[in-house]
């Protein structure tokens, strides 16, 4: 087994104290049943962080490890025989939590991991005039962790973009930003979410809730839906039982059937691809709707970008068969 620090390849007998010759500790020991080596775990971290260039969350690492398990030995053969039916992840969350804890104990927090500062609570902007302006576009997420991913990677800065979760994150600037969004009658709104019941109703909620964009903006759905699940076999979670949903909340009967059995999280896609897909989805939408005039569009509607995560997802979005 190779040491991630000095590269020495040691035999089991040479690391009986759990350390390499260089003195560094190993987090895992495959000889005693661990499913990953330190080098394999580090390789997964390198993949989610794009070799340290992208900020990422621990949930992305979880799915990266799930992907790697799917490509191993008889599991790969079995999945090929079983065909394109949906399958659940092979690494349960508590096992992952244990691995992650041991990694942190042995090697500390990896660089690039998104770590929130203590929540400062609701705050006024430091500069008095900040709230007087607006944004060209807003990305509204179903999860606060997706907001973290976008902000920590400066997506908001690169794209003049507000990023909020529907649940009120980040708390500090949340109401300031939401009020600012009202100042742009030509605002473009993009929903980014899991393939889940709350996720798939997000765009509909945003377009119809007066606290959000009812009567103001078109909401474009760039999130995951059941039809995108094909390339993500083996990365699905069982549905825990979610809220009921009415027929007019943006979910079809077929989708509901799938959603009652499965959950596909956005985090199953590698962070680099989430950012690039979102960028492309926004540009595609805006190019198709760009017009002139300062008079804003009024009324609200929902459009869905069916190609956003589906067309080449197996090539680059972290489909189970793509990464090993």
């Amino acid at each position: 087994m190779k040491c991630i620090y000095c590269g020495t390849d040691s035999k089991y007998s040479e690391r009986s104290d759990g350390r390499c010759k260089c003195g560094k500790k190993f987090a895992f020991e495959p000889k005693t049943g661990d499913r990953f080596t330190d080098a394999g775990f580090k390789s997964a971290i390198d993949a989610v962080s794009a070799q340290g260039q992208i900020r990422w969350g621990v949930e992305h690492l979880y799915y990266e490890l799930c992907r790697r398990l799917l490509n191993r030995g008889w599991w790969k053969i079995w999945s090929l025989l079983r065909g394109p039916r949906p399958r659940f992840v092979r690494l349960d969350q508590s096992t992952f939590d244990g691995l992650w804890q041991r990694w942190k104990t042995a090697h500390g927090l990896p660089t690039g991991l998104i770590v929130r500062k203590a929540d400062p609570g609701v705050s006024k902007p430091r500069e008095a005039d900040i709230g007087d302006y607006s944004f060209d576009r807003a990305v509204i997420c179903d999860r606060a962790r997706t907001v973290d991913l976008l902000i920590a990677n400066n997506f908001h800065f690169e794209n003049s973009c507000a990023v909020l979760s529907i649940g009120g994150y980040p708390k500090g600037p949340f109401e300031t930003v939401r009020t600012m969004l009202k100042r742009n009658p030509k605002l473009q709104v993009f929903a980014l979410h899991d393939a889940s019941v709350p996720g798939c109703t997000l765009a509909h909620t945003l377009a119809n809730d007066p606290q959000w964009f009812k009567g103001q903006a078109q909401v474009n759905d760039l999130g995951l839906r059941p039809r995108h699940a094909g390339p993500f076999r083996g990365l699905l979670l069982p549905t825990q039982g979610g809220p009921s949903v009415g027929p007019d909340q943006g979910i079809s009967a077929d989708e509901l059937l799938w959603l009652n059995a499965y959950l596909l999280e956005l985090a199953a896609i590698r962070p680099e691809q989430i950012l690039k897909r979102l960028f492309r989805g926004i540009n595609r939408q805006e190019d198709s709707t760009s017009g002139s005039g300062d008079s804003g569009s009024t009324g609200s509607s929902v459009s869905s970008d069916g190609d956003s995560f589906s067309s080449d997802a197996s090539d680059s979005d972290g489909g189970a068969d793509s990464f090993g």
Partner: protein
């Protein structure tokens, strides 16, 4: 157009001849005036209005002035001396595009001055006890015994900004006088001070949009009028955006004949149709100048030489071709629309507002660091780009952030938006956009007029409530209101595209052999500044993982190539005109 140079101290007067010979494209006439311990040189085009007709001598005083004032005067050199003699107050309304030197014989003091926003440049150095100064860097390199070595600290800043900001020059020992500053050299000591600073002073009367619109329209028209100098016909660089469209409109309102020059990138043109619409509406003839990657390769050695400093924005090649076309059509003066973004709230406004709102969530970038990232070059990528040897020479942390602190956190403005405006004006405007545009125009014998970088207009823009600059999400709102009745609606209110040079297509296509020559392994090894693996990735068209825009590949590669080309011409070649390829 036109240039000055000289020295104070005991030196061979013939060195001034050599310095004047280095900028022959800046005029067909030159003159040298010497007095004990001082020598001044001046090169200018004869038969051009608004230029000093020669070096002005009065008693023991000698004055050389390159450029013009706004409004024009018969002799800028005479006018400048008259303003400098009484003391600092004489400069309170001084405006234009000029760089000048005044030798006060009675006090044995040399005074140097640059225009408020830095259209004209002025460099200086002390060498073997002599103080030399010049309009262009290449003139100082003509001083025979001057040691020419690259300054890694300045190169480091270039790699962040794509230009060298502040007083730094990327050659050790040479400095630059900042825009809006005066320098005095006497008894071996140099002191510098600003004579002009933009400061936010919001006028509550301008909260009324109608009054504000009228006010800004009047200032814009005055700024245009102040820059006309008796020409019967002038050229304008028209992009199709609102800034250059506005300048074209106001020029036509004065009654002067106008001809527009615009870029044609073929099927990659972004604003060509808009430029045609504006020209048609204003009944202005328009000439489209085709630009291909091959064209840029052909002009590259002369482009680098005439730019004088390294400028990493790929817009310089197209600007060179525009200027060449305007000069070829017989023009001697050209207007452009630069300054609208800086004064009225384009470019960095919305990203910086967005960044400010989300600051402090993850204990990461400061306001200054985010602003540095907005240049999209190599800030934050130093570990991947720099060799260890180069990294060790670039100086300690905080130098780049320190350049921004006076604007982003200082007391020149109280509103956030105007703080960012000040940073944009002082850095990107005064130290990048203006000098490079002047080099491209001056390099072709054209006099550049930049009416939106007008002193009174800039001050008026800082009397406006910032909400009239960024209005909701509408950038340059007040300028759009000023223009909305006079230009087509789709020009005024459409989404901004900006100058979109297809540089990635060029560097990965027709310019790939040039990139190989400048940034291939042998060249990188010889210079030992950059890691080959990082540059090779860019040359293969592979973006950084965090980048979502393909154009960043070309922008970064071009910035590196321009630096290497600049080093070949100015470090290896001491600023002599390159013959043939680089």
């Amino acid at each position: 157009m036109s240039g000055i140079c000289g020295f104070a101290g005991q030196a061979d007067p013939q060195v001034v001849d050599a310095m004047l010979a280095a900028i022959e494209y800046r005029g067909d006439r030159h003159e040298v005036a010497s007095a004990p311990g001082v020598s001044l040189g001046y090169r200018w085009w004869s038969a051009r209005p608004g230029k000093s007709p020669g070096i002005h001598r009065e008693g023991g005083d000698v004055v050389a002035c390159a450029g013009t004032f706004a409004p024009p005067v018969d002799s800028p050199a005479v006018a400048l001396r008259n303003r400098l003699v009484p003391g600092p107050g004489g400069l309170d309304t001084l405006d234009g595009a000029f760089a000048a030197a005044w030798w006060d014989g009675a006090r044995r003091r040399l005074t140097l001055i640059r225009d408020p926003f830095g259209v004209r440049s002025l460099y200086y150095t002390e060498h073997q006890g002599v103080f030399y100064f010049a309009s262009e860097l290449k003139q100082l390199l003509a001083v025979p015994s001057l040691i020419v070595e690259a300054d890694p600290v300045a190169l480091h800043k270039y790699l962040t900004f794509s230009f060298v900001p502040g007083e730094d020059v990327p050659i050790r020992g040479i400095r630059r006088l900042l825009p809006g500053h005066v320098a005095e050299y006497a008894a071996g000591r140099l002191t510098t001070r600003p004579y002009f600073k933009v400061r936010e002073e919001i006028d509550p009367r301008l909260a009324d949009r109608t009054i504000a619109t009228r006010h800004i329209r009047a200032r814009c028209r005055e700024a245009i009028g102040r820059r006309l100098n008796g020409e019967s016909e002038v050229a304008v660089f028209l992009s199709g955006g609102i800034d250059s469209s506005g300048v074209t409109l106001w020029l036509t309102e004065t009654g002067v004949k106008v001809r527009a020059f615009s870029l044609d990138f073929g099927e990659r043109s972004v604003e060509k149709a808009q430029a045609q619409v504006v020209a048609d509406q204003l009944h202005v003839p328009i000439q489209f100048v085709p630009v291909t990657g091959g064209d840029i390769g052909d002009i590259l050695p002369d482009l680098v030489w005439k730019l004088d400093l390294p400028f990493g924005d790929p817009v310089t090649g197209p600007q060179y071709l525009l200027a060449r076309a305007a000069r070829g059509a017989g023009f001697s003066a050209v207007f452009n629309g630069e300054g609208g973004d800086q004064l009225f709230g384009g470019w960095t406004s919305k990203p910086m507002v967005s960044a400010e709102l989300y600051a402090d969530l993850y204990a990461d970038d400061t306001r200054e660091e985010l602003y540095l990232r907005s240049y999209h070059r190599f800030y934050g990528l130093e570990d991947r780009l720099y060799t260890p040897e180069f990294r060790a020479q670039v100086g300690g942390p905080g130098q780049r952030r320190a350049l921004l602190m006076p604007y982003l956190r200082g007391d020149l403005a109280e509103t956030f938006l105007n703080r960012v405006r000040l940073a944009d004006i002082s850095l990107k405007g005064s130290q990048n956009i203006l000098p490079r545009a002047e080099r491209m125009a001056g390099g072709h014998g054209l006099d550049l007029r930049v009416p939106l970088f007008d002193r009174a207009l800039a001050e008026a823009s800082f009397h406006l409530p910032p909400q009239l600059k960024l209005h909701g999400a509408i950038e340059k709102y007040i300028l759009k209101r000023v223009l909305q009745r006079h230009l087509p609606r789709e020009i005024v209110w459409r989404r901004k595209y900006g100058m979109s040079v297809p540089v990635t297509d060029w560097v990965l296509g027709p310019l790939a052999p040039v990139m190989e020559e400048l940034l291939g392994p042998p060249s990188l090894k010889r210079r030992n500044l950059f890691r080959a693996e990082y540059v090779d990735r860019l040359r293969q068209g592979r973006n950084d993982a965090r980048e979502t825009r393909r154009r960043r590949i070309g922008e970064r590669l071009w910035a590196l190539a321009m630096l290497e080309a600049w080093m070949r011409v100015f470090i290896d070649g001491r600023g002599r005109q390159p013959r043939g390829s680089l």
